[in-house]
């Protein structure tokens, strides 16, 4: 029997029913839940600033509640997730509370951390690390804005250690997406850190399932021929040599075909001969993708080599505030009228000295979604006017959100759609891509029974 790893979350906010539906029909060895995108880390960091017990992907608690019966009944089943975000300990404690309340006090829960570089940044910079921006070459000390989060992308090592210590649930901070799958496979088959072809195969499997239903019929141009209501989330069956079969739960919606697998292979990659993870550098150009049977696709012949000497770092800093509002503009002249409304708002804000520094006007329904792709339609009767403003000064962004409603009574006729109320002012974050030498980052692994984690809270 190959190792069966399923993934039931591709981002924070993904379908909460996916794990429950998956486990209803399938027996698997590992369930992974992938929650962290670049932007998610900044949002979580902002939450942690306000509340020291926040900063993790709270969806995990809902999902775990749903699958407690299977965790109780199936001794092989383990959960591996990066739901810990910027506060894995708080996540572990919330989960432990749930376990204790459900007679699972003894279940071993692991916390994999060590990725958080934020408290270490001043010291590391004093030691001479420049954290140069990979796009611009600028050293970090030239950045004056407050840094919100800085996390190294850890690999599978901490997860392997946690599983070796018998953890049934592994909560991590910023671990590379594919490593959530590599960790269980490396632990199960006992691969060494230099078994690069095997690690490459598991990384490919991880890459394929990390975005949830994108490999099982999501993002499809065949939507009219598929039923996506109960779309199945993916399962990777991984063999000892690292090759895998991608499939989905019996009688679930969607499809797994060589086309869905190939499309997901090229999703969000750069140079396909050098797909970098913290565990291995993978060459996608040696892969073979073949159909095995209905909804089962084989992926073999992955080749790997030594990973980069540095970990990628997800570093975000505060970049002011942003808000976006929309109005529906109707009439034969709707595009012209929408342009006039945008101009009115701009002039009024300018008059009040509150025009946001960055200003974006889009007419949705008039081919603005991809700028320059197609000419404006000649027969549109309705368009949505979307205006977005950004500024370091919160007051200017708030002023923008106030300018939409008055247009309904003091602007042109034929405007609707303000019932939802004033647009929300959100903090904006900017991303500073950089790296850190591997030897400066050590994953920390703590495995304790759920009840003991709670005791840790009390202390």
């Amino acid at each position: 029997m190959p190792l069966r790893i399923a993934n039931a979350a591709g981002f924070w906010g993904d379908d909460l029913s996916a794990a429950r539906r998956l486990l209803a029909t399938e027996q698997i060895d590992y369930l992974t839940l992938e929650y962290l995108a670049e932007l998610t880390m900044s949002i979580l960091a902002r939450q942690r600033q306000k509340n020291p017990l926040a900063g993790y992907a709270t969806d995990v608690c809902t999902v775990l509640s749903d699958i407690l019966p299977q965790l109780q009944q199936q001794s092989q089943l383990r959960l591996v997730t990066n739901a810990g975000g910027v506060n894995p300990r708080a996540c572990v404690q919330a989960i432990s509370q749930l376990l204790v309340q459900n007679q699972l006090s003894e279940l071993p829960v692991a916390c994999v951390a060590g990725d958080d570089l934020l408290p270490r940044l001043p010291e590391l910079q004093r030691q001479g690390l420049r954290f140069e921006n990979l796009d611009t070459g600028q050293p970090l000390h030239e950045l004056s804005a407050p840094i919100i989060a800085a996390n190294a992308y850890l690999g599978a090592q901490g997860i392997v250690e946690a599983l070796s210590a018998a953890a049934r649930i592994v909560i991590t901070g910023r671990v590379a997406d594919a490593s959530l799958c590599v960790g269980p496979a490396q632990h199960h088959y006992g691969w060494n850190n230099t078994d690069y072809h095997q690690l490459a195969g598991a990384s490919v499997a991880g890459h394929l399932i990390e975005c949830g239903a994108q490999v099982t019929g999501g993002l499809t141009d065949r939507w009219s021929q598929l039923d996506l209501t109960d779309v199945g989330y993916p399962i990777a069956e991984i063999d000892a040599d690292g090759s895998c079969t991608i499939t989905k739960p019996r009688s679930s919606g969607g499809e797994v075909t060589t086309a869905t697998v190939k499309q997901q292979l090229v999703y969000e990659i750069g140079d396909p001969t050098a797909y970098h993870t913290p565990d291995v550098t993978v060459d996608f150009t040696t892969l073979a993708v073949t159909s095995e049977s209905t909804d089962r696709v084989r992926v073999t012949q992955a080749t790997g080599r030594q990973p980069p000497a540095s970990y990628k770092v997800s570093l975000c800093y505060a970049a002011g505030y942003v808000a976006s509002g929309q109005l529906l503009i109707a009439g034969r002249d709707c595009q012209k009228k929408a342009g006039y409304c945008a101009e009115l708002m701009r002039r009024r804000l300018q008059r009040n000295g509150l025009l946001p520094n960055r200003w974006q006007v889009e007419l949705l329904g008039a081919n603005h979604g991809v700028p320059g792709l197609l000419p404006a339609p000649t027969d549109a009767y309705e368009v949505i006017l979307r205006i977005t403003g950004q500024d370091l000064d919160r007051q200017r962004v708030e002023a923008l959100t106030r300018e939409f409603a008055p247009l309904i009574t003091n602007g042109p006729a034929g405007i609707a759609g303000y019932a939802a109320g004033r647009a929300e002012v959100r903090p904006q974050f900017a991303y500073w891509p950089t790296t850190i030498p591997r030897e400066l980052v050590t994953p920390t692994v703590t495995v304790l029974p759920a009840a003991t984690w709670l005791h840790e809270v009390v202390r």
Binding site: D221, K262, V266, I269, G270, F284, L287, W359, V370
Partner: protein, 101 residues
């Protein structure tokens, strides 16, 4: 001939850069894609995005091409003010590209 006749596509983001993966519908279509769907053609098709350069990678083993569109996202997921901050629409958009017969 529209690209949609020959290929499927999906797109995503890496910071301020976008990528578009193109998969030939039939293995025999791959050679046409390699010949006609050049980086220069893709760069000119998406000139309205304000991108700085396009790099093309070939994956003959899965009859696919990968395009990286540098600086295409007006700031990317965190900073772009566009409705499509992450370039999710680009995969659908590129299928409109006209190739010589």
């Amino acid at each position: 001939m529209k690209l949609s006749q020959l290929a499927q596509a999906r797109s995503g983001d890496k910071g301020n850069h976008a990528n578009i993966g193109i998969v030939a519908r039939q293995p025999s279509d791959y050679a046409i894609l390699v010949r006609e769907l050049t980086a220069a053609r893709v760069a000119s098709f998406f000139a309205g995005l304000g991108l700085t350069r396009v790099v093309r990678y070939e994956l003959p083993n899965i009859q696919s091409l990968n395009f990286v569109l540098y600086d295409a996202l007006a700031g990317g997921a965190s900073q772009s003010l566009r409705i499509d901050t992450q370039g999710k629409l680009l995969g659908t958009a590129i299928l409109e590209l006209e190739l010589p017969e």
